[in-house]
């Protein structure tokens, strides 16, 4: 049995330390997934906390079905974001993903292609539909496998590849300025 499975089993029996370790492992990526989808830092923090409270409450119902524990957490997070947009109806703001959250390093700055930066990507990502966002964030930001993403969004692996291709194409067109410039004019 893998280490994560052991931790989940202990946590299911009510071991808070075991769940604490699972929290430490998965919380940063769940927070990142949420903050890239909702933009606002405080909302992302509240949602992330709620996701882990829900996970801790419903952990006894969780069963391993060939996918990592994180898939289950992403599913809870995805539903939380859907509920967030359903009830709050917020608008994504350019400034919503705060710069202080992005831990820039000197090496990164050197590597950065100045034709467009992370801010542009964040804005462009926010303009995609939720499914395209999910696929791009999970595939390229969180390095999830196509199989895991397919299970998460309840589509076939082939469908995920198609969505990924279309999402990248749309993102590229936004970054190229076709949609980005019009957004700036509107703003």
């Amino acid at each position: 049995m893998k280490e994560e499975e052991l931790l989940v089993k202990k946590a299911q029996e009510g071991n808070a330390d075991a769940f604490g370790k699972l929290y430490d492992t998965h919380m940063p990526r769940i927070f990142r997934f949420i903050v890239l989808k909702v933009g606002a830092k405080h909302d992302a923090e509240d949602l992330t906390q709620q996701v882990f409270i829900n996970a801790w409450q419903h952990l006894p119902n969780f069963e391993f079905k060939g996918f990592p524990f994180s898939s289950w957490l992403y599913r809870i997070a995805s539903n939380a974001v859907i509920d967030y947009y359903r009830t709050a109806r917020p608008t994504y703001d350019i400034e919503k993903v705060p710069e202080e959250l992005v831990a820039r390093t000197a090496a990164m700055e050197n590597e950065l292609d100045h034709s467009f930066g992370m801010e542009t990507i964040k804005i462009a990502l926010a303009k995609l539909d939720p499914e395209h966002q999910n696929v791009l964030i999970l595939r390229f930001v969180e390095d999830r496998s196509t199989k895991e993403i397919a299970e998460l969004i309840e589509k076939s692996e082939g469908a995920v590849r198609v969505i990924q291709h279309r999402a990248l194409k749309t993102l590229k067109s936004i970054v190229d300025g076709k949609q980005y410039r019009s957004t700036i004019k509107e703003a």
């Binding site: 409450q57 959250l101 292609d113 990248l168």
Partner: protein, 162 residues
Amino acid sequence: MENNIVLQLKRLKTITPDPVWNANARRVVLASREILRAPISSGMRYRFLWFAAPVLALGVIAFVMLPTSFLPAEDGGLAANGALNPQSIAQELKGFSIHVQIKEIRYQETADNAVATALSEITDSATQHLSPSLLKSEEANALNLTNPKNPSIDEMLDTVIF
């Protein structure tokens, strides 16, 4: 360009939560299950009944009152419908005002008679003997109790002794 986009997407991995928030959130999350699982004491278990009691009482009243409001009236219609008929309400109001006026007139007559009787008694000298103060003074004068040589006192004592 596409590779550049993928590269930029990968850079978003550097987004990290605030460590202070993280520490607080961790505590809240881990405590949440304990709070929900805490056993409920027997006193707390039925505490909600204090809030439910007035609601239940109102429910019972409504349950009893509502059906009786819709019992058939004498004219065959529903009592509630009859009570809400504007014509019958207007008729009731007319009768009500007449009864009030008649009662007021009767009261005024009685009050006037009482006042007239009282005034005539005050002014009539023939009825002065009814005054309690006058009777008392008359009684005292007749017996002349303060005089030790009063013969009527001796007569009264003889009557009592013999």
